[in-house]
Amino acid sequence: MFGNNRLPAFHPGLTQSRIRDTTTGNRLWFPGVRSPPSESSPSDSDPPNDQLPLPITPEDLYDTPMAPFNPYTYIRCPCSELNPYAKRTPDVTAQGLSRAAQDDDDHTFDPRAARSNYSLYPLEYLSFCEDCHQIRCPRCVAEEIVCYYCPNCLFEVPSSNIRSEGNRCTRSCFQCPICIGPLAVNHVETPPDPNQLLSPDHAASSHSGSYLLSCSYCNWSSTEIGIKFDKPNSIHMQLAKLRNGGETRLTAKERKERRKEQGGGGGGSNNGQGEEDLDTLLDMETQFANLKSFYQNQLSDANGTGKAGGDASAALGNLGFDAPASLSRIMSLYTGSSSLHDKKSKSRPGTMREALAPSEGLQLASLDETSAITALQDFESTTGLDAYSSTASTTQLQSQTPYLGASPLHGLTRFTSSLRPIPYLLRTKRSKRCPQCRHIISKPESKVTTTRFRIRLIAGNYIPTITIKQLIIPGLTPPPMPNLPPDTIAPLQPAQFVLTFKNPIFESVRVTLATPATTPGRFPSKVTILCPQFEIDSNTDVWEEALKDNNTSSASTSTSQQNLSSSTGPEGGPGRKRAGTLRPGTAGGASLAGEELGPEVGKVWEKGRNWTSIVIEVIPASLVQTAKRDGKGPIKEDEDVLEIPMFVRIEWEAEAPEDEIMPGLSGAKGGNKDGGKEKRELAYWCVLGLGGLRGRCKRGFVCGRS
């Protein structure tokens, strides 16, 4: 719809300052602390952001919840509506799916629906593509990797190592298998052995095995699994060669070398006997390697010997056909089209036998697990510890890396003694691109240790932020029910909330809100937006605002300001005062008129330099009554939070794009000159979490279970 339009590009400096601005000030989660209309300094022009937390007294402007419910806002990325397959799927899966029919485009968004959790994001997680003028969520950006690094040692890992060495740090960075804390390499203090002291030859051997990994959090150390290290560095390599208990094993590379030697000696027969007694119980890595080489041998054998050993005429006759086959192979090699859809004509039955020996990857199962069973049962008697605590928990097992050195059976780790230190997973720095226009949305510095970004277009710089406060006006708001916990919204009583929209962009923005009359889901609450259409002024510079203030309306409003503060008391006075100050003729005046009756329909509640507050009225459903009536069982987690889906549409006039001339940074300059305006719009669903419908206990259980 506004594909080629561009916002005026900003000076880098400005963007920077805005980013800082948003990241510091713009927290949606602190309702009690930062209240937009604070009376501290009347000259302050940006109240929602730049206020320091004030000491809050119970008589403060708005109700400040004592309990930890924080109103929140989630934004639904529009990309979740764009599934090209969404339409088709119901046809396919057709009958019996009752829900499929309801899956229309028009139905209101239900934040409680099973799928909603996957498409909702806090504003902080969203990016914005300046060229497509669209919100981009983590699901709808294309990512590129800038660098790989270990989060523990902060060493950068070259990308070639990722493929060959895996996704974990190959230096000495390990996590504790018990508590995932970082492990440190420590020296083992062994009491000096007089014999070894005497003989210098044994000095070396005493040196060996004198380092261990230890966890400073839970005091686990690698001696518990019988592992000590010779050197304090490159623990990863040493650990790969050690089984639990200190037994050494051959790594894949060594095994390969050994095989090569044997293959050379034994005339290349792939099932050489000498090798088998190396290890009859294959570990997983070896079995895989054996299988792989076995299959490869078989495939090449089947083809190769088929030609050589088969009758000569066939071999000769096939010569003509050989040619295209191999050509196509070369072609496919270079065109990169893989086997998955290699084009080649003919199937011929290549034959291969099955693996017959461990050297070929066949591993007979030793089903006898009695040793493990008896170990489990006798654990208490042998060690004095509880058998339950000797076993590893599910989460511990899940955080284990697959230990390839174990044979498949022993790979089924069960005891804590068979856990192994977890090498740190590497992490990446990624740059993000818009999948449609390929413009970069976010690009971090490539150095591991810097946290700066070269480019970062976060959505908070482009779309208004919403802050939520409950509105309590003494006399107008009914007193809270005495038996309710403090942060609860009383059921079946109208409650009012102030939504403050703050405009981050340099143009004034027109906002249109829409919400279903009752919230979807099991507990329908009535929702009314008192002022669904309003405007937010542009985010001009602060000093400009101050000048304007002085020039125009300071004198005229000073009287009304006093009137206001005297009539309404401390509540909300300064905020509305400001609204009147800035725009004496428009919304401010309206709110002035209705001020004594509280919020008025169709009127903005209050207004500031780049922010506007409106009031939303909610009559919450009664959870207990509904739950009793509909018989759908107990109230589920989160169903007791009053969440309102709201459709936000913002329109603004931006400088006309001059993409044709210069698509780069010059937008702002040119736009200023020719002044051509162009309408832009953006629409999205968001979810407002207003408050709990019943209290929450300390432990997270929901009280008031019927």
């Binding site: 806090p122 495939l299 011929r348």
Partner: protein, 657 residues
Amino acid sequence: MSASLPHRSVANIRAPTAPSSRSGGGGGSSHRERESSSHRDRDRDRDRGERGDRDRGDRDHSGTSTPTRPIPTFNTPSSLRAEEELIVIDFGTRKVQVGFAGDSAPRGVVWFGPEQQRRIGDFRDWQTDYQQDWRSKAAGGNWGREYELWRPDVRGLELGQVGDKVEKAVREAYTKYMLVDSRPRRMVCVVPTGLPIPLLSAALDSLFHRFQPPTVSLLSSPVAVTVAAGVRSALVVDLGWNETIVTSVYEYREVATRRTVRGGKKLTEETHRFLAKELGHVQQDNKDDRQEYVLSFEECHDIANRLVWCKPFKADKTPKSSSPPQPASPEGEGLATVEESDEDEPTTTTTTTAAVGEKPLPPPPPKTTTIPLRSGRSPASLELTFDQLSQPCENTFFDSQYSLSSFDDHETPVHLLVYRTLLQLPLDVRALCMSRIIFTGGCTTVLGLRKRIFDEVSHIVQERGWDPVYGKAKEQLRMNSKLKKRNGRLTTGITNNNTSNSPEAGGVSPPTTTTSGTSASGEGPPTPAPAPSGGGQGQEEDGIWHDAANSLPEIDPIEAQLARTNPSSSSRKPLHGQLRAIESLGPWAGGSLITHLKVPSVSTIDKDQWTQHGVTGATVRQADVEAKTQQRLSWNAMNRGGREGKEPWTLGVWGAA
């Protein structure tokens, strides 16, 4: 192909330069390829139009032997090809394993759980005082639902959510474990065969929409497991989450599948029931849906993983039809009964000397452990004996207190299921499959379970042979002296691993019997000398009697060819007719192997085609499926037909909508 246009130019550059070298014909295969590339171009062009003709011509031309073609070795390293990373995804009900093809283990395993289904930015899990409100979620039979990706019953299942879960899991694997960017990559999905089409479709939708792979190939997990074990035929016992599925794979083709609900889910539920009972809660068994849960799924699952074990096999004959009380025949039956009587009376310690390692020591003081339970209404700790802790497993997989005939089809005990699957197989297939039993799936971690199933199966086989008819009349018939001899021999043929454990059993058994799988693997076929005549007799007498172990092997064309092409290996006949379990690296590793070896999959779905048609575009024609299967079975790397847009594609065994 469209993905790699830039590389095409490389090929164009190389192609003309190649044919200049025209040296001796022997050489390496790569050498020969270059030689005649000039007329290959022509051939290729012609190839498009007249493939059918050429196929026939080829076959005629080659005469007796199959036409051969030099397929260069597959391990030729090519930097160009190495760049392409194929991603193998193994979909399970509880977890998704993701990694690169050619690796021996997946890079990352992503488990499904409630915390994964939270909104982004919802960090309540990390709050110190947060405790999951599992109770309200468990209502309405949803206990543990959120730990699953899907369930086989798709009624009322939100498919879009399945897609979302798939996406989130794969994305997590991408960013956390694979460390790859979001460039489109080909994907290979290892998928259980019985997956309902709507689920498959939802998963594929999600993959194609969010990750834009040029193609997605589907591999069936039993076949992948078979490949990862190094065999061509196998009986795959997948002790999975929702179900235990026994699949018989013969020459990389699934020939029979049976399933039962006895899987990990039931084990967890049984664990819960058991713990609840121990805690003093009375459960009404008949109303499973309305069951009240007193402990969280997580905790029960944890305990099931940690402490639940499986008792070793005890040949108690009480529930089953009584086997002959005295040794029926001197040679064969004696062997079985010696073992049985060993374990028959576990309390009398005098007789148990032979099989010491086999069973838990008779408990003078029962060994106990203390389990802390935190998710109940009030924290508690239970002191349980290990004997008790084997109950859930017993109830889940065997239910041995009931007679074998009392089960419904969907809840057959696992050992019976294995036996029945073997029983219904054709003779040759059974002979191969029974000596290649592969246990896979999550429940293999239950200590002792695999051995128990194996022993139970071999016990049934010893008792009944391969005869679908059993019961009293059958017993009487068996007591008939005329048949006794054959029965005896039969049981020796299927002597299993555990006979080797008892020394005197080994002494009794006739020398022809191969007692242990390990020693037999290298030896010749275990077919005893008198087999042909005896087997023939058996088949004459009753039509259904199939003596798997001792029948004359038919001439296997593949074996024959193997013997021809590779004389060195012909000395080693594949073992058959003997119960034996082998180890597999699992479905993911199998998928990785298959993909790495560039074996084309039956079902390769092109992104464009999927976008156009979805599942409905998959061809239903059996002939196409067959053709594809044929191509794949040949293990030929080059046999993919041109994948133009019109080319019919199929979902293979997964069927069509």
